[in-house]
Symmetry: C2
Subunit: 433 residues, 2 copies
């Protein structure tokens, strides 16, 4: 077992050689193809929706959105409809008393570097009920035959509300005491080690980040009055953010151009729908084609933080994203794609862009879900403010303690996936809580 894990006393050199070896060994090719070359996926001749012949996995369809707020009140767009809820699960086991997390070196077709560090299990229901007709998902039994007293985290969390319609996954951390057979492509890592790896661009994948963000705090000394005030602010925003959405045929989205190999916004903004062919040896199925969403630029995702009476506070933004199950979730201070905002940027974006280097505590480019998005990268940042923010804050913005934000992660539909990545980074790389 000794080569399988990297105890707190050991450097990550061995990890990095293992990773290098897997990278060199992995044989796959991902290529853009025209939609006409998709196999087992087709564009519905009536609606233009892109769906799998089996009716499973996901569908690319259209969504019409009406919102009373925001710079644009009404638009339509392509969106991914994937109603089934998958499992993102991490096994944890103590070695010499120190918790180690079983992480996977996993290939995803949309990842710019293809291999990324992933949870123990990352499986759609189609995966683990064998719709792929591929091999059994490794370690899935630890997450489907649960012993309640071993479950540390088990909560539905949303994914990108601008690209997914009502998509959630079950975020799970399960502790084991017994011996766990170690499969190829898996390693046990401590939180400190994962934190160190979170400083490397495009290494720790989105699914690993969201699961780890849900780890409960060991001490949860709450402030009941502050928590009530926070929930009241959130309720007010939910109650007054009137967002209506309506599924429409993909063919009917307005201002999007349908070409042979992409569906793109007429201004080149936001993202494109593309298709790829994949040949690989390290995934459940060795060759396939599929659609992916490809953003049209690097995103910026940042939390402004400050310290008050020794506690870290983050400047949160209650955001309506059209694909959220429940209208509004709490996101980072800044979350946008600068190239899609030619005429001005959202609140606080300038503060992030112009921040003095000594205020930047975290600054790493990370990928979003490589199974659905192609080269979807965001520059994730944590910046300490000098307290000279304009007052009053816009009503959708509020300072919350990192403790409050983490407490909300015990429940579904409160904190968006970008904010969860930053929670993970703050806790694992900055040691904040």
């Amino acid at each position: 077992m000794s080569e399988a894990r990297y105890g707190p006393d050991r450097s990550l050199d061995e990890f990095h050689s293992w990773w290098k070896e897997l990278t060199e060994r992995s044989a796959f090719r991902v290529e853009r193809i025209p939609f006409a070359d998709l196999r087992r996926w087709r564009m519905d001749p009536g609606t233009g929706d892109i769906r799998h012949d089996s009716g499973r996995f996901f569908t690319v369809e259209g969504l019409r959105v009406h919102s009373e707020r925001g710079p644009v009140h009404s638009w339509s767009q392509p969106i991914i409809n994937q109603p089934e809820i998958g499992i993102l699960g991490i096994l944890v086991k103590r070695f010499d008393g120190v918790p180690h997390y079983l992480m996977q070196c996993k290939m995803e077709p949309g990842n710019i570097n293809v291999l990324q560090l992933s949870p123990t299990v990352q499986a759609t229901r189609s995966n683990f009920t064998r719709a792929h007709q591929g091999s059994q998902v490794a370690y899935i039994e630890y997450f489907t035959d649960l012993r309640p007293d071993r479950v540390l985290v088990d909560v539905l969390q949303s994914e990108h509300g601008s690209w997914f319609l009502r998509k959630r996954n079950r975020n799970m951390i399960v502790e084991v005491e017994e011996e766990v057979p170690l499969r190829e492509n898996f390693r046990w890592l401590t939180l400190d080690q994962i934190g160190e790896l979170l400083r490397v661009d495009n290494l720790v994948n989105m699914d690993a980040r969201t699961v780890l963000s849900c780890l409960p705090l060991s001490h949860t000394s709450g402030d009941a009055a502050a928590d009530t005030a926070l929930r009241s602010w959130f309720t007010e925003i939910c109650a007054t953010h009137n967002v209506r959405t309506q599924s429409i045929p993909l063919r009917e989205v307005e201002r999007w151009e349908h070409r042979a190999d992409e569906i793109a916004h007429e201004d080149g903004h936001h993202f494109k729908v593309v298709a790829v062919s994949v040949r690989a040896t390290t995934r459940e199925v060795s060759s396939w084609t599929q659609p992916l969403f490809q953003p049209c630029g690097l995103g910026v995702v940042a939390f402004l933080i400050r310290r008050v009476a020794g506690e870290v506070q983050v400047l949160a933004h209650a955001r309506a994203e059209p694909g959220f199950v429940d209208v509004v979730e709490i996101g980072p201070t800044v979350q946008y794609q600068p190239s899609s905002y030619p005429d001005g940027s959202p609140p606080f974006a300038d503060l992030v862009r112009d921040a003095a280097p000594e205020r930047i505590h975290y600054d790493t480019v990370l990928s979003e879900e490589g199974g659905r998005f192609r080269n979807a990268e965001n520059r994730y940042m944590v910046l300490e403010t000098d307290d000279d923010l304009p007052e009053p804050l816009p009503e959708d913005y509020r300072w919350l303690t990192l403790r409050q934000l983490t407490g909300l992660l015990a429940h579904r539909n409160y904190v968006n996936v970008q904010a969860r990545t930053l929670v993970c980074a703050m806790r694992l790389t900055l040691g904040l809580s």
Copy 2:
């Protein structure tokens, strides 16, 4: 002021004479009418949907439901679509140190006895933004201009998921210290007094019950491990309950018959859509017509409870109702309409029906929302079990402590409206927590 409230030391005799006087004084008439006699409401000639000329208030439309579980996997039905979020708010103020709640004697057209005891404010957005063109909603300013430190409760809660599509209201309790002018039809009552009134059939309305159920417990000594296990059970059910719904034209609901004065299920089950004309003097507008849903029988809503190590536990049922925003919420042990179950009843219904009188702690007939439902009554019961329940429980059932259930009420989308009525009854009439 002395006649305006009934201190803890005083009997409710005075309250009852006040109530009797209001009942005698109130002049209104509610009558069934054919749909063709609706004024400012019309049936869309294409879809058959029933909507208001202003486009506001609510719409009666169709819903198609597919569910992997339950006795019936696929059906369609009429449903009320009321996307806007209203305010249900209660003002609280201490007199001689004792909290008193400002309650309203309010007329609703669907109430069998018309007048019921209601929250201080019970207003749709159309109400308080004056779409009715009626008078200003009394006391609304206490709930729209908030002082955060005075807010005790502020949370979105769902309403009947079988009759409403994604309906929620903002449940609020706000404390005031200053003098509050007392309007006609309003009285200050203590929780003990409201508890006593909760023993009277059809007196305390649904909106008052749901708001009061959300009162936080004064002591919240949590059991983190038990709470994690509870949330894991709930997450499992949410992740595996695959319910899909689709809005359809009311005309396309199958097995429902459209008549001149009602839309009814062909077997006479569930409910009917009807229309009424209302003439009243004690409401914002003195005369109007509107559609209502009318159930086809008395419902039964019951919690089985037990005591373990001095703590009250309730047998909860995680239910999928098609109108819930998020698929599954926690409901009572039993919630059904016996006349619509001719071929057998849901789990534990027999235990409730055959319970020995000495095990029945609470047993009162209460009305559901009289603004949307006509003569919608449920027999609400709390029964103590003798612990001889069949084991293992069906997977959607679980014992939780009343403390846990109340803790979940701080968040949206966890506990359904019928369970909330019983939480209110257990806390206010049985003194349980």
